[in-house]
């Protein structure tokens, strides 16, 4: 491997993590503003620098400053090592998942081919799922090490919920894997560049597997631990795995949630909306189904692909935020019943039906 390739990878890694972190930081502002606009309010707009309010964007900075300057309290009976470790685990495992997300097709500069994906893992999907499952360790450890029964209850709720919905999530994408025959996310996105019904409808996951999309959306919302599935956090009650955390460590759990929201949105965009695919755009230009051809230079194809990916990502973030500010939370028994008795059987039925249809079509 030559040194230039390493440098390019490092730059890509910094960009990916930076953008993921940046979007997650921006989401604190988006969340406040979007909920305000949905509820006929204005939202945070008081923080200003030199008289500039910038639509309340400075509140994100003010929040970070507040978090950093607060006292970091560790309860007397807490296991200090695990207590300090838990928030880092949460954030790191949420961030690592982005490595396998393809955010664009190849970019050819001169004679060098740059894959617009951080780690081209041939089991990328499994990798992301593994990392998301590891995220539960942060939750469990935070609840376990705080020496607080309420934290412990929150941690237990969190692990039970994440296991329940992880199973559904995995089962829901089985259909997608069967249709596209790959676990490699880049190959999966490329496979979504084909067309159905005489070239009119892109072969995106949402058109091939609409039911799996609904199941995945529900399970993914549960995975981000936000309302209506926010029982492990329980902002409106005292049971939550991070009740003993203060300062930036609490902020890290908060960020981990938002990073997971971005990750889950990116995953949904990749699996169900064709990732960086722009409808009818091939590497040489637009091939419209009615026969028109518009040539597009290579660099613009790459840029359009990335723009498309970020638009799809934003759409899913918007959707998750809207759901979060629309629905009331579940009761715990309802949550478990929904996960194990409704979503899991439904996803199994989806697998069976998909398998039968694929066999019949072959």
């Amino acid at each position: 491997m030559d040194i230039v390739a390493v440098i390019i990878k490092v730059i890509l890694a910094a960009l990916t993590i930076g953008v993921a972190f940046g979007i997650a930081g921006l989401l604190t502002w988006v969340e406040r503003k979007q909920s305000a606009v949905m509820q006929d309010r204005i939202g945070a707009n008081r923080a200003k620098i030199f008289g500039f309010k910038a639509l309340g964007l400075f509140h994100a900075i003010a929040d970070v400053l507040k978090m950093l300057s607060k006292e970091e309290f560790i309860p007397a009976g807490a296991n200090k090592f695990l207590f300090n470790l838990a928030p880092y685990l949460s954030v790191i495992f949420a961030l690592v998942g982005f490595a396998a997300i393809p955010f664009g097709n190849q970019l050819i500069l001169g004679d060098r081919v740059i894959e617009l994906q951080l780690a081209n893992i041939n089991v990328g999907l499994l990798f992301i799922f593994a990392m998301m499952s590891m995220g539960v360790y942060g939750v469990v450890l935070a609840g376990f090490s705080s020496n607080n029964n309420y934290s412990f209850l929150g941690g237990m709720r969190g692990s039970a919920q994440m296991i329940a919905y992880e199973v559904t999530m995995g089962a829901a994408i089985m259909g997608i894997i069967m249709v596209y025959n790959t676990l490699d996310l880049q190959a999966l996105v490329r496979a979504q560049g084909e067309y159905m019904f005489g070239g009119w409808l892109p072969k995106w996951g949402i058109f091939v597997q609409p039911f799996a999309f609904l199941l995945f959306l529900t399970a993914a919302t549960a995975e981000t631990k936000r309302t209506p599935f926010d029982l492990p956090e329980g902002e409106s009650e005292i049971i939550g795995y991070f009740v003993e955390y203060s300062g930036m460590k609490f902020g890290m759990f908060f960020m981990a949630d938002l990073i997971e929201t971005v990750l889950v949105s990116a995953l949904m965009a990749t699996l169900f909306l064709g990732g960086w695919q722009v409808a009818y755009l091939s590497p040489d230009g637009f091939h419209f189904p009615w026969g028109t051809f518009v040539a597009v230079p290579h660099i613009w194809v790459a840029i359009l692909g990335m723009i498309a990916f970020f638009l799809k990502l934003s759409f899913f973030i918007w959707l998750l935020m809207t759901v979060r500010w629309t629905l009331p939370r579940f009761r715990y028994d309802q949550l478990m019943r929904l996960g194990w008795q409704i979503l899991l059987p439904a996803s199994l039925v989806n697998i069976a039906v998909t398998a039968i249809v694929i066999t019949l079509l072959r």
Partner: protein, 198 residues
């Protein structure tokens, strides 16, 4: 709603010889109204229709308000509010004209207080927050005037009795000022000058 089943239930409990039979019937009919919730159909019990209508409602609000906010930024549609909130310290919520707000002492044409120190308000005040020191007025047509008029807003309950009882229309609660906040209890005590001019 009176169903055959409920009718049977009614007849079972209804005793024509009972003194309070009619009350029992009325009570049962009231309870029917409460029970008049119909069972959810299978489709409704999946919560999917409610889920979609809920998301539809909130996102309709979102896009309406977002559009209005953007139009306001470029100076259009300023008369349609995009948010129901008031930006309080800068933008005050309009009060009803009859709202009981902070007191003021009305003045005669020469600028002296209209008050004749009759002590009616001090007597009627349930919070005992008014304290008037009377003095003899130089004009023989007016008997007395308040040498000092102390009103402790820290004690006042804004009942408005002082205004109603005043025979001279000398005290009113129409300043439209409600945001009275001070750093000490002493500065909540208003004297004659503050009540007349502030």
């Amino acid at each position: 709603m009176e169903t055959p089943k409920r009718r049977a239930e009614l007849e079972k409990y209804y005793d024509p010889n009972s003194t309070f039979g009619h009350l029992r019937v009325a009570q049962m009919k009231r309870s029917w109204k409460l029970k008049n919730r119909r069972e959810l159909t299978w489709w409704e019990s999946t919560y999917i229709p409610t889920l979609f209508s809920g998301v539809w409602l909130t996102s309709a609000h979102f896009f309406r308000n977002l559009g209005l906010h953007i139009l306001h930024q470029v100076g259009l549609k300023k008369d349609v509010r995009a948010a129901a909130t008031y930006q309080y310290p800068e933008e005050k919520r309009p009060l009803a004209l009859r709202a009981r707000t902070r007191h003021r002492l009305t003045k005669r044409e020469d600028g002296t207080p209209r008050c004749v120190a009759c002590m009616m308000c001090e007597t009627v005040c349930p919070a005992r927050c008014i304290e008037i020191t009377a003095a003899e007025h130089p004009d023989p047509n007016i008997e007395k005037f308040p040498a000092e008029f102390i009103l402790d807003l820290g004690k006042c309950v804004y009942c408005g009795f002082c205004v109603e009882v005043c025979p001279e229309d000398a005290i009113r609660m129409d300043t439209q000022r409600l945001d009275i906040a001070e750093y000490s209890r002493e500065s909540m005590i208003y004297n004659k000058e503050r009540l007349m001019n502030g």
